[in-house]
């Protein structure tokens, strides 16, 4: 009897201790170990980080980098939970970007790197550093820049008798019609994920609205100008021409041969509007897992009567932030990422454009070179509209676009959805 009670009491105490143990931090407390989170959970990208960490450990004897590769869709939620208590969060982590980074700054969850970044970062990444700069303080080190635009299959364009890529929205519509007449699905669209559909709206808004009106919208959420509805109507016109792949509302963006990227990779559709990660994604989806041979790129066409800046670019910048409680060696690690060598390897592994201008010579892919040309021509790049607006209004915007495409509401409802979202967050 007595023995049993003692045993039970021991068990209860053991349970309590066990539960307390769960709260232990996952970041080691010594100054020689850094935990590092990124979202490249497969393929060459994952290997790149393993190699980079090994090189860093070799250069700094005694230092250990613990890597966690987290599936992209889980990444934001996991990071947010882990950073509730910075002491238990990762020391170096891939940024969520835009308004989310701003929230993290306000919550004291990210380190001010203004005086800590190396001179290499300051000089080589001058053009992309603005994406990680808030109130003229630098909070991250960029690794890649991904401007968007239209990716197309040169073979399919040729088959439809299109000799030159479109430069205006009307030409784009004509070409789409030509493709359709030739029996080719003109545009692949991953409507199920919403953001690929919304990207059409972002670009049309960037072309329709004057730079000042556009920044008033993204920064102060003032969408009163008519250009915001005009952008929606432009998209509606395009959708009404029936130029997107059949069943695009239930098509995903990147998963498998049935996704919109898969359709382009397998010549089942002629073009797709996407960021500069596209060649890397297509590579995994072609039948022989090799880069798509006839892939081409052209910038988003201008809109007749649009007030947007000529050739303005929009895209994403991937950068890495540092935990405010991380050891100094973590800062060295992000600076290490920015070195020319590592940036070159990064660009190759991810088939993308490196943030470092010094490393851009390594880009050999024809379509990416075309992107670079546009990038060199324009002096600034807007961030994706949903990133700038933050997830709350961004989500409302994306669902507004999906609603319009499925016939539930019109262009003015997109604007209204963004205004309503302000009530929720």
């Amino acid at each position: 009897m007595k023995f049993k009670s003692i045993a039970a009491a021991t068990l209860a105490v053991a349970t309590l201790i066990g539960m307390a143990g769960c709260g232990n931090s996952n970041s080691a407390n010594d100054d020689k170990t850094i935990t590092f989170w990124h979202n490249a959970s497969a393929g060459e990208g994952k290997q790149y980080w393993v190699d980079l960490a090994a090189a860093f450990e070799k250069k700094n004897p005694g230092v250990k980098v613990e890597i966690q590769a987290i599936q992209n869709e889980d990444y934001a939620g996991k990071l947010q939970t882990a950073m509730q208590d910075p002491a238990s969060g990762p020391d170096v982590y891939m940024s969520l970007g835009g308004a989310k980074t701003k929230e993290m700054i306000d919550a004291g969850q990210t380190m001010d790197l203004t005086d800590k970044i190396s001179s290499t970062v300051k000089s080589d990444m001058k053009t992309t550093l603005s994406a990680a700069t808030f109130d003229s303080k630098v909070y991250g080190v960029p690794v890649s820049v991904e401007p968007g635009g239209i990716w197309y299959s040169k073979d399919l364009f040729e088959r439809a008798g299109i000799t030159e890529t479109p430069t205006t929205f009307d030409q784009l519509k004509e070409d789409a019609q030509k493709l359709k007449d030739a029996g080719i699905a003109p545009i692949a669209l991953g409507g199920k994920d919403a953001w690929p559909a919304a990207h059409w709206y972002y670009w049309l808004a960037l072309r329709e609205c004057s730079p000042s009106v556009y920044s008033k919208g993204t920064e102060k959420q003032d969408f009163s100008d008519k250009c915001w509805t005009r952008a929606g109507n432009d998209l509606k016109e395009l959708a009404d021409m029936d130029v997107f792949n059949e069943g695009y509302m239930t098509t995903t963006a990147q998963q498998g041969a049935n996704s919109s990227a898969g359709l382009l990779a397998n010549h089942k559709a002629a073009m797709e509007l996407m960021g500069a990660w596209e060649p890397g994604v297509l590579k995994e989806l072609t039948p022989d897992k090799k880069p798509m041979a006839d892939l081409g790129f052209f910038a988003f066409p201008s809109v007749d009567g649009g007030k947007g800046e000529e050739g303005a670019l929009m895209g994403g910048v991937t950068y890495f932030q540092v935990n405010p409680e991380a050891p100094d060696i973590a800062v060295d690690f992000v600076n290490f990422m920015a070195e020319k060598d590592n940036q070159e390897k990064y660009a190759t592994a991810f088939s993308t454009i490196p943030a470092s201008t010094a490393a851009r010579g390594v880009v050999t892919d024809e379509s990416l070179k075309a992107v670079l040309e546009y990038l060199n021509k324009s002096d600034s790049m807007q961030l994706w509209m949903d990133t700038t607006l933050g997830t709350n209004i961004g989500t409302a915007l994306n669902s507004g676009v999906v609603n319009m495409l499925s016939g539930k509401g019109g262009a003015q409802d997109i604007v209204k959805a963004m205004q309503d979202a302000a009530a929720k967050g």
């Binding site: 209860a12 939620g77 509730q84 306000d106 919550a107 004291g108 509302m249 239930t250 049935n258 989500t395």
Partner: protein
């Protein structure tokens, strides 16, 4: 005299000792369960309610990095047409799955309760969809049912132009109900079969002697005696439908589910809370869902399940009262018979 009183006192002490020890034992033995329950059920509900009063992005703490808005989140949620639609869809699913699955499950169970060759195989097969993970089922069906998917291609062979099973708002909810029925009917059938097998064979024998036919036996013996099982299944099915998330999320995704008219309360919560990064608002929605589910569950328990759960979940006092009532009734009948 003194010796007696000491012995009484002594005994009393021993009795209280036993009681104290018993209480300690109860406390110690149930502590792990109670602690776990509080930490992972009660505390999250309280925290959720607390977050629900704030506009909060999930970074830092609500009091520091959020703004207190009182009941505003609840007002916004309840007046959002998208949430109202999600509640409506959820209840369509609750009722739809009951209406479709109950008769089918009973029929299947009746069939599988007969002796025939290959019965074990069919019993297993009908249970297979229930065992397969929702993610696999969802991914598989979403590929099959796409506008250009396998099902429409097969239909095309027969010259039928298949509809858009998933994106068409007129069809999507029926597609979903069909998938839910296909997936969960195995569970209902197994429950019904178990219920049928607990019905004593003697009753059927007696009925047969009295000249009852097959359908009459099912109607007068099987169905009434299956009622307790049926009531429990209805309860489980309702709770499952109220929480439906994974199938919809995987097949339709968080955006298209709204336009296709299959969004549920849970998918709305995930989109507006986690997806949009509005953790305060999302928590408020979660609490509303919790309250709706609680009301449905408690109402059903109080009015329908109470007779099955006598003494188990309902208060023992009530059960005692009912037993007394029954005893009195018996007495009255006995007296009348005399």
């Amino acid at each position: 005299m003194t010796s007696i009183s000491t012995s009484v006192r002594h005994r009393n002490k021993r009795v209280t000792d036993g009681k104290v020890r018993r209480n300690i034992e109860i406390f110690v033995l149930s502590a792990p369960a109670i602690i776990l329950f509080c930490a992972f059920v009660i505390l999250p509900i309280i925290l959720g309610a607390y977050y629900g009063f704030y506009k909060w992005k999930g970074f830092g703490t609500p009091s520091k990095n959020g703004t207190f808005v009182g009941l505003q989140n609840y007002v916004t949620a309840l007046s959002d047409p998208n949430f109202q639609a999600a509640i409506l869809h959820t209840f369509e699913i609750v009722i739809g799955s009951l209406v479709i699955q109950a008769p089918l499950a009973i029929l299947f169970a009746l069939l599988l309760n007969q002796k025939f060759k290959g019965r074990a195989l069919i019993r297993t097969l009908i249970f297979v969809p229930y065992v397969v993970s929702e993610v696999i089922v969802g991914t598989g069906w979403s590929l099959l049912l796409q506008k250009t998917g396998a099902i429409n291609q097969i239909l095309g062979r027969f010259g039928i132009d298949g509809p858009d099973w998933l994106a068409d708002p007129k069809i999507a909810i029926w597609t979903l109900l069909l998938l839910i029925s296909w997936k969960y009917i195995g569970f209902a059938v197994i429950l019904m079969l178990a219920g049928m097998q607990s019905i004593p064979e003697e009753l059927y024998e007696a009925a047969r002697v009295d000249g009852a036919g097959f359908w009459q036996m099912q109607k007068s013996i099987t169905l009434p005696l299956l009622a307790p099982t049926l009531r429990i299944w209805v309860f489980l099915s309702m709770i499952g439908s109220l929480q439906l998330f994974d199938l919809v999320y995987i097949i339709w995704g968080q955006y298209v589910s709204t336009t296709a008219g299959v969004s549920t309360m849970a998918t709305y919560m995930v989109r507006e809370g986690r997806g949009a990064g509005n953790y305060g608002y999302g928590s408020a929605v979660a609490l509303i869902i919790f309250i709706i589910s609680l009301i449905v569950a408690l109402t059903y328990q109080r009015f329908v399940l109470s007779r099955d759960l006598d003494g188990a979940l309902t208060e023992q006092k009530q059960a005692k009262k009912r037993a007394q009532k029954r005893a009195k009734e018996a007495q009255r009948l006995a007296a009348a018979a005399q």
